[in-house]
Amino acid sequence: MSVLGAAIVEVKGLGKAYGKTQVLSDVGFSINSGECFGLLGPNGAGKSTLIKIIYGVVARSQGDVRVLGWDPQVDGKELRKHLGVVMQDDALDEAMTVRGNMLMFCRFHGIKGRQAASRVDDLLESMSLTAKAQAKISALSGGMRRRLAFVRSLLSNPRLLILDEPTTGLDPAVRHALWDKIRELKRNGTTTILTTHYMDEAEVLCDRLVVIDQGRVKIQGNPKQLIQDHCPGYVGVFNEDGAGTGNTIRREYATIDAFTSDMKPGGGQTGVIRPSNLEDVFLKLTGRDLKEND
């Protein structure tokens, strides 16, 4: 085991290829203790592969990775004792009950007996799942499944929490409940890696983030600073001919007045102006939308 620095996660010159297909190229970043760190990018950008390399279930092709001081490729088993991972598809054990899922994970983390029972009860309670403890997984709603996957990842009191699109497809109430929980964990010193498609989520939760596109880091930094640096002010969106049949125009504006004066006078043209966000930054740098598939 070797520690490269004070950072919880250090990724340097990381590359991953499947055969001749290069999925990640020269990826580098570091995550400090207690940070909430975002991984953003369109589908197929390589985020999930990167996450799997970080928790040691995918081998890298090039570069160096250290997580909590361990090389995930060498000491994955030891490393995962200190991690909590929520995957995109929940990956709950359908053959077991809610409580059965939790207790089985306790066993894998070496948590036994009354300690396991009490920890499971507390965590189910924290996400309002106590009433569903004996329910089959198939009886849970999408939101309940995600909440269960989330609390299951907390069983080991993780030092690093990895959340792969934790709120995708959730209703706003559940989404905000998870945000609150992530904030609470952050206050308690848990470091978090978060992948998301939701720009508001990244802006609200992440201290820093990287945007990955086609396997490469496009930009990294604090979300607000990135917006300030690359796309300050506002973005107006309107239809070019005013009749709703032309192309959609998306343009940066320093002020709202500038947007208003840009609309075709007397043309019945309507549009929307809003503060610029991370998606605008991404679009500006790559010419592509964050939600697009490659």
């Binding site: 499947y18 990956a91 894998f108």
Partner: protein
């Protein structure tokens, strides 16, 4: 204690937990899961032994039912382990994402695969021992070496289960296991010496039989449950079966490991 030894012990503990997970799931639907294991041997005894057997001329010192009985114990291990290794593993891997979830814990691909082998061996051991015990109680098998039947079940379970696991790396969908069953398992089953001695078969088939783990499993079961030539059978057929189990498990390991650890 060295860190390597500590890590190995932890690895064995986690592998055992993977097998425990499978047992807990199996137990939830216990009646359905054990039904084929209980009903099939009973039907074989009834139809082939007690009924068809009486219509056939006995070819030696024992009745046809006594001749076939050890094969039924071996058959139980064959089918329970092959189906668990093929359909069972495939469903866990592809449809249920069980391993994906387990590998967010300290469990790694090594523990997943070793856990599968423990589960296959355990199922083979428990099922074939239970059937052997029933055969002894029925008076169609001898009890002298009954304690060896769990080991026999492990050897058959691991070797035939590894064939099922290997099949998972070749099939493109779950339906294709039917071809594996038809072209590999069925011939192995019918040409094994379980129903008729292979000595009466063409020389080429007799030679090919030696490549079949189930043939050696049947020879082992017959020696053990007839209480005849036990030592030589365990040295020759037990040794070959153990070697086959090791080879098949190693081949399976090299095929599946890259799928679990990209």
């Amino acid at each position: 204690m060295t860190s390597h030894l500590r890590s190995s012990i932890e690895s064995v503990r986690l592998s055992g937990l993977v097998a425990l997970r499978h047992w807990l799931v199996f137990r939830r639907d216990f009646f359905a899961n054990v039904s084929p294991t209980l009903v099939d041997p009973f039907l074989y005894i009834l139809v082939f032994g007690a009924w068809l057997g009486t219509q056939m001329q006995s070819a030696g010192p024992r009745s046809y039912l006594e001749f076939m009985a050890p094969g039924i114990a071996a058959m139980t291990a064959l089918f329970t382990s092959f189906f668990e290794g093929s359909y069972g593993f495939y469903v866990r891997l592809v449809y249920e994402n069980v391993f994906k979830a387990l590998m967010t814990t300290p469990v790694g691909p090594r523990e997943v695969l070793f856990g599968e082998l423990i589960w296959l061996g355990s199922k083979g051991a428990i099922m074939s021992s239970f059937v052997s015990l029933v055969l002894v109680v029925m008076g169609v098998a001898k009890p002298n070496y009954l304690l060896l039947t769990p080991i026999m079940g492990i050897l058959i379970g691991v070797s035939c289960g590894a064939i099922g696991l290997l099949a998972c790396t070749f099939v493109k969908n779950i339906n294709q296991f039917q071809a594996v069953y038809a072209w590999i398992i069925s011939p192995m089953f019918f040409v094994s010496g379980m129903f008729v001695p292979i000595a009466g078969m063409p020389a080429l088939i007799q030679k090919v039989c030696w490549l079949s783990p189930f043939y050696h499993g049947v020879q082992l079961a017959q020696a053990t449950l007839w209480a005849e030539g036990v030592l030589s059978a365990w040295i020759i057929h037990g040794g070959i079966l153990a070697a086959m189990a090791g080879l098949l498990a190693t081949w399976m390991w090299h095929r599946i490991y890259p799928q679990l650890y990209g």
